[in-house]
Each structure stands twice: as structure tokens, then as C-alpha cells.
């Protein structure tokens, strides 16, 4: 780890991942620190190999002189249908996006379904049709699949696991280690749409606002950025845990700091309002059709123009900059005139009590 304790600051120290829990709790699935600890201290420890170790969105594989990106993603979401998407489109876009932000063009997917006894066939058809449409839009095919059925009460409706292979784009070589002080941080659009759409679609918050998930393939956006070549340093899609968690993964890996400008962060008015009422922070809310890019300082405006040229990137913005210090932290310059740390998510985001 490149992060040494920084004694001048209030506890700005980080530790090696340790898994002390005796049982899996929901916190391990929230995408924050507990998920990290689980991955690093259990999965990585047991499965250790050089392809897995970078813990990127996709593993980079060379076969017969061809460079491939390979990834997999299990999808569970309640409700199965929500404004702007469903578990089917989500499962396709999730894997397509992991491949795209690895610097590759998605080629083929596989899909494995675990169906719960009692699931209406009409629902399943709707979900699979939606997968087909998402696959067409992303220009990939579902080339292999598997189906299992479990007893009622043991399946949460259905879960879909997709895996995918993509062809690495020769123009770019992305990585944490490519990021340098001075580089600019961009987001391709508004933050928190998917997470709030799903939270509200669950229907138990009694908020009368319609928010659409942003579920979409980000490959067209990623591909237009590939034109920047080496000046494109790093790409990610900020899903579970949101922008905050994804940027923390970057700062932890590269040992630098990201300084965000609160005023520059694009957040839809309805999302901001819903978050405000629930005491949530859009920086931690999931996105399913956005990417974060780190680019060389003198190409930031070019990158912004490339993103904005695409309908999905119309609200793209330059939101921050990479700084040398304080190491390993993400900071935010608040609109109010102060500053604060933007930490990694710990546990699920929960509405406040009072």
C-alpha cells in the first residue's frame, strides 16, 4: 500500500483489510469498506492470482496475441422493475459498462438465471426482452446461458448473473498508476439517479416524485474518450457506493488525493431533493449509466466536449482535480466555503432518524 499514516491529520490513516466478522451481514454487500474487506481478506486471499489481483472492473487477459477484458456481475434488485429499467437491462448494462471502463469494446455476454418458484412467466419474458434490447443497443450478444429454479422463498424473484468478454482498445492503457497530480476528474452526467429511482420505486418512503434510473451502456462515451489515447488515464463506472466510493478506491490505490468542487457536481433537482429529505448524500448513491474519467490537465476541455457530444453525456462536467496531498483522501470544497473529507461508504446509506 502506498498510503503511509499521515500523522498531522485527524486519523487520516488506513489499515490493511481484515475480516473479523463471524457471519456475513448485509453490510458486506453494500459496496463500501466492509465489501472491500470481504473481497481482499477472503476472496483475494484464497483465490490469489495475478489476473484477479488488480481488482479492476474486469480482468485483462492475453490470448493468442489478443488482449481481452473479462468480467462478471451478479444482479439482485428489488423491485425487479423500476422507472428507467429493470433487472434485465441492468444485468446487460452492468457487465457491458465494466468492460467499457476497462478500455475495451464489449463483444459477448453470458447470462445465468436463478428463478424462484412462482415467478410469473410474463415477468420473466419482459425481463429477457429488455435484456435483448439492451444488448442490441450495446452491440453485444448473449452467447451462452444457464437456468436454475429454486423453491419459493429462496430466490427473491430472480437473480441474473452476466459475464462478458471485450476486446481491449489498443489506443488506451488505463490504470490507477497512470494518474498524476494535476489531472482533471470528469463525470459524464448527473449523480445518484439509479439508486434514488430504485429506493423510491420500493414504495415505502411515500415520496411523490418520479426519478428514472440512468441504466444505460456507457460504451459510446468510453469509446469517444479512447481517442485521447495516453491522456485518458483512468475510467470507472460509479455503481454501488457512488462517486465517493469509486474515487476513494482510486486515491487508495494511487496514493494521491482527489479534490472535488461541490458546486461543479451535477445532480438532478429531484434527486437532490429526495436525498435531502432522506438525509442521504448523492455522492454515495448508485449510478448505472455514468462514468468517471481522469484525464491529463490540458485535455480536460477536449474530454468534456467529447462527452457532451453524446446525448448520454450532455450534462458531463469537470468536477475536480488530482492533488499530491493529503495522500489517499478524497476532499470536497463545499459550496459554503469550507472543506471536508469524502469518505468511502460504510454500510448501506440509511435515511436519518430525526
Amino acid at each position: 500500500m502506498s498510503n503511509r499514516p499521515n500523522e498531522d491529520r485527524v486519523g487520516a490513516r488506513r489499515r490493511k483489510a481484515r475480516l473479523r466478522d463471524e457471519r456475513i451481514t448485509l453490510v458486506h454487500g453494500a459496496g463500501g469498506k466492509a465489501t472491500h474487506n470481504l473481497i481482499e481478506a477472503l476472496f483475494l486471499e484464497e483465490l490469489a492470482n495475478p489476473l484477479l489481483e488488480p481488482l479492476g472492473d474486469a480482468a485483462l487477459i492475453e490470448a493468442g496475441g489478443t488482449k481481452l477484458a473479462f468480467t462478471t456481475d451478479a444482479h439482485v434488485v428489488q423491485p425487479l422493475f423500476f422507472p428507467g429499467g429493470d433487472i434485465g437491462s441492468l444485468a446487460v448494462n452492468g457487465t457491458v459498462n465494466d468492460i467499457a471502463v476497462s478500455g475495451a469494446r464489449p463483444l459477448v455476454l453470458s447470462a445465468a438465471f436463478v428463478l424462484e418458484e412462482g415467478l410469473p412467466v410474463a415477468d420473466l419474458r419482459r425481463i429477457v426482452a429488455s435484456m435483448a434490447e439492451a444488448a442490441r443497443e450495446a452491440n453485444v450478444v448473449v452467447a451462452a446461458g444457464d437456468t436454475k429454479v429454486v423453491e419459493r422463498g429462496r430466490g427473491d424473484g430472480l437473480t441474473v448473473t452476466t459475464s462478458g468478454v471485450g476486446l481491449m482498445d489498443e489506443r488506451v492503457a488505463l490504470g490507477d498508476e497512470k494518474v498524476r497530480p494535476g489531472d482533471k476528474v470528469l463525470v459524464s452526467g448527473t449523480l445518484g439517479d439509479h439508486g434514488m429511482a430504485v429506493m423510491i420505486a420500493r414504495g415505502n418512503l411515500e415520496l411523490e416524485v418520479e426519478i428514472e434510473s440512468d441504466s444505460a451502456s456507457v460504451f459510446p462515451l468510453a469509446e469517444s474518450l479512447f481517442a485521447l489515447g495516453d491522456d485518458l488515464r483512468w475510467l470507472r463506472d460509479p455503481t454501488r457506493g457512488g462517486l465517493a466510493t469509486t474515487l476513494n478506491e482510486l486515491t487508495e490505490a494511487c496514493g494521491l488525493c482527489v479534490l472535488l468542487e461541490e458546486k461543479a457536481l451535477p445532480v438532478r433537482e429531484q434527486v437532490a431533493a429526495a436525498c435531502e429529505i432522506l438525509g442521504l448524500d448523492p455522492l454515495y448513491v448508485a449510478n448505472e449509466g455514468k462514468l468517471i474519467a481522469v484525464v491529463a490537465p490540458d485535455r480536460a476541455e477536449d474530454a468534456l466536449a467529447l462527452l457532451r457530444a453524446h446525448p448520454l453525456g450532455a450534462e458531463a462536467a469537470i468536477v475536480g482535480e488530482v492533488e499530491p496531498e493529503p495522500k489517499g483522501l478524497v476532499l470536497l470544497q463545499t459550496a459554503f466555503g469550507g472543506s471536508r473529507v469524502v469518505d468511502m461508504l460504510a454500510g448501506d446509506p440509511l435515511p436519518r432518524i430525526c
Partner: protein, 369 residues
């Protein structure tokens, strides 16, 4: 966003900060306590502390409903959750608070049916929908949340729902303030009073702080400009040698509070002889329980609740943090053994806890004595 951005203007903040510098009584060091954890979080989330003049310190208070629940009550909750046939409902924050034998989340991973709800009425609805199960609601909080518990109990009675009980841990705000003002080891110059509690109780309950203790009080809202303005109002009083109760949060807080909410509390709850607080010990007449006539809906009446007082983890200094004696980062386990994902004390768990505020937002701050 309308009605929010107006209260977060950086321009107005700079103007207030400049006025604050002008108003500071020369040569004096001032310590103001923000009683409410919601204020603590707003302060660090927006970086308000960085706009304060030298010589002005904010001390964090005990107004965090999750933080003040002692280990013993968490153990009671876990024990209730493990009762057969029970659906145990709680606000989300409470799930991760460690008891001496694990948290409610741990109980859930061992098979207890623990569910997060957003309101006690959701818990009542759960009871209505599951007549064959027993639903318990873990009621916590100051006078802010007590009225919603009270209304829920009244509705349970009106609807004749009897498979529903309340594990009542409601507390009142004035006794811990007295305890803190009486403590010899802390010198406070003024108090930023909690806005949400005051919507219910009004501003008169703080009068004794001005009249008996000679300290100014300002009831404050939760937006950053509210807090900064309240600090300025306190400093103005101190500079002029005044000690009064002022209300900055006039758009929400009425002097007399919310009489209907108070009436609902009064109708359903009564003060316990004594209630144990984390860090503050047992304080007489500080906690609420359901009145005898509502015993049917009282979990402590219906079940065997261990009710054992359990000391804090020996490394945990939440008690001192809650009394404003120790800054979160001065605690020996802050950020090492105690983190939000594996907390030792409540102050690191709650979204209103001072340790969580520092951990999430304040780790870029230079250490101050």
C-alpha cells in the same frame, strides 16, 4: 434547489464570518456547545468550523439519540429480537450499534427477524399485516421522535392491534443539559440548542440555562447559514454581556413548541424514576416509559427484558465524547479499532455521532488541542 440553496450561500457565509471576527470580544476564548448531533454533522459536512475565527471553539454535545443508548439497552433489544415469533423493527442506525453480545445486525445474521423501518407507523402496519407474529418497535430519541411513537400507540389502541409492542427508550433533552452544565470539568460559554427537539418543546425549557447558569442559548436550524448565524447571535450576546434564550430557527420553532405533540407524549408516556445514559450515567427523571394503561403495548411489560446495566467497552470513550470532554480523534481507538464499519462505540455508528462526523468529513482537519 429552492429552499435549500438560500441557506447554503457561500457569499452570505463569508459576510457572516467577517462579522463574527468583528464581534468577537477581544482577548477571550469562547467555547460553544452544539447540543445536537445533527448540528455536528452539518458543521463538518459543510466545513463551517473552517469559517470560525480563532479563539472560538465548538464543543460537541449529547444530542444524538443513538449515541446515548447504553450497552445494556442494546443487549435488551437483541434479546427481544431473538424471542420466538418476533419481528423486531428499528430505525436503520440502531442496527449496527454493538451490544456486549453483538448488534441487531448480527442477531439478524443468526436468524432473528430484524427489520428496518422509517417510522413506528410502518411497524404498526407490519403488525396489522402479520397477525400471527409479534411486532416490537425499538423506540429511541428525544422529544423529536417521542410524539410519533405516542401517536402510534394511540393508533394501536384505536385499531385494537395487540400483537404490537414498543420497547420504549425515549429520553428528554433538559436533564442531560443540566448534567453537562453542572459538570465541573467543562467550561461552556453558550449553547446552540437543538432545532428539531425545540419544534416540539419550544424554547422556554431552556430559560433556566440563561437565568440560573447565566449562559446564552440560541435555538438553531440545521442549514449551514442557520448554524453560522446562531454562532454570531451567541457571540453578540457574550460580547454585550447578555444571557438570553434566542430563537434563530423562527421559520420552524415556536416559543410554546407543538402543544399537540406534547399532549400525545403526556397522554401515553411518563417519566421513569431514572434512566441510564451512555457516558452520563443514570439521570433521574430523564427517560420516558409507557403509562400503565398502555401496558399491553409495552414490550418491557410483555416480555422478560434482561435490563442489566453493562459497562462500555473499556477502550471506548464515547462517554467523554458525549460530554464534550474528549475530541473524537483524541480517543485511543478512533479510526483504528473503532471505525464506522466495525464500531466499538455508538458515536462512531450513528449518522449523528460526533466520531462518525469527524471520521467521514473531518479527517483533513489539522489536529487541535
Amino acid at each position: 434547489m429552492r429552499y435549500v440553496d438560500e441557506f447554503r450561500s457561500g457569499e452570505l457565509a463569508r459576510a457572516l464570518a467577517a462579522e463574527l471576527v468583528e464581534t468577537m470580544p477581544p482577548g477571550r476564548e469562547l467555547a460553544l456547545m452544539e447540543v445536537c448531533g445533527g448540528h455536528t454533522h452539518a458543521i463538518y459536512k459543510h466545513g463551517i468550523d473552517e469559517l470560525l475565527p480563532a479563539g472560538l471553539e465548538l464543543v460537541h454535545g449529547p444530542g444524538c439519540p443513538v449515541c446515548v443508548i447504553p450497552v445494556g439497552r442494546v443487549d435488551d433489544a437483541v434479546s427481544l429480537a431473538l424471542e420466538p415469533n418476533v419481528i423486531f423493527t428499528t430505525f436503520g442506525d440502531m442496527m449496527r450499534v454493538p451490544g456486549s453480545k453483538g448488534s441487531l445486525l448480527d442477531a439478524r445474521s443468526r436468524g432473528a427477524d430484524v427489520r428496518m423501518v422509517y417510522s413506528p407507523l410502518d411497524a404498526l402496519e407490519l403488525a396489522r399485516a402479520n397477525p400471527e407474529r409479534e411486532v416490537i418497535f425499538f423506540a429511541i430519541g428525544f422529544e423529536t421522535t417521542a410524539p410519533s411513537t405516542a401517536v402510534t400507540v394511540l393508533q394501536a389502541r384505536a385499531q385494537g392491534i395487540e400483537n404490537f409492542t414498543i420497547f420504549c427508550n425515549h429520553v428528554t433533552i433538559v436533564p442531560p443539559l443540566k448534567a453537562i452544565l453542572d459538570a465541573p470539568e467543562l467550561r461552556l460559554d453558550g449553547l446552540i440548542a437543538p432545532g428539531h427537539v425545540s419544534t416540539v418543546i419550544g424554547s422556554h425549557p431552556y430559560d433556566f440555562i440563561a437565568s440560573e447558569y447565566g449562559r446564552p442559548v440560541v435555538v438553531a436550524g440545521f442549514e449551514p447559514l442557520d448554524i453560522l448565524q446562531s454562532v454570531l447571535m451567541l457571540v453578540r450576546q457574550l460580547a454585550a454581556g447578555r444571557a438570553e434564550v434566542e430563537n434563530q430557527y423562527t421559520r420552524v420553532v415556536r416559543e410554546q413548541g407543538n402543544p399537540r405533540a406534547l399532549e400525545a407524549i403526556e397522554q401515553t408516556m411518563e417519566l421513569r424514576e431514572s434512566f441510564e445514559w451512555r457516558g452520563l450515567g443514570s439521570i433521574p427523571k430523564s427517560g420516558l416509559r409507557l403509562r400503565e394503561e398502555f401496558a399491553v403495548w409495552d414490550a418491557e411489560h410483555r416480555y422478560n427484558v434482561p435490563g442489566v446495566s453493562v459497562p462500555d467497552h473499556k477502550a471506548c470513550q464515547c462517554g467523554q465524547v458525549l460530554r464534550g470532554l474528549v475530541k473524537p480523534w483524541e480517543c485511543k481507538v478512533f479510526g483504528t479499532a473503532c471505525t464506522p464499519e466495525s464500531p466499538i462505540g455508538t458515536c462512531m455508528v450513528s449518522s449523528e455521532g460526533a466520531c462518525a462526523a469527524y471520521y467521514h468529513y473531518g479527517r483533513n482537519r489539522p489536529k487541535r488541542a
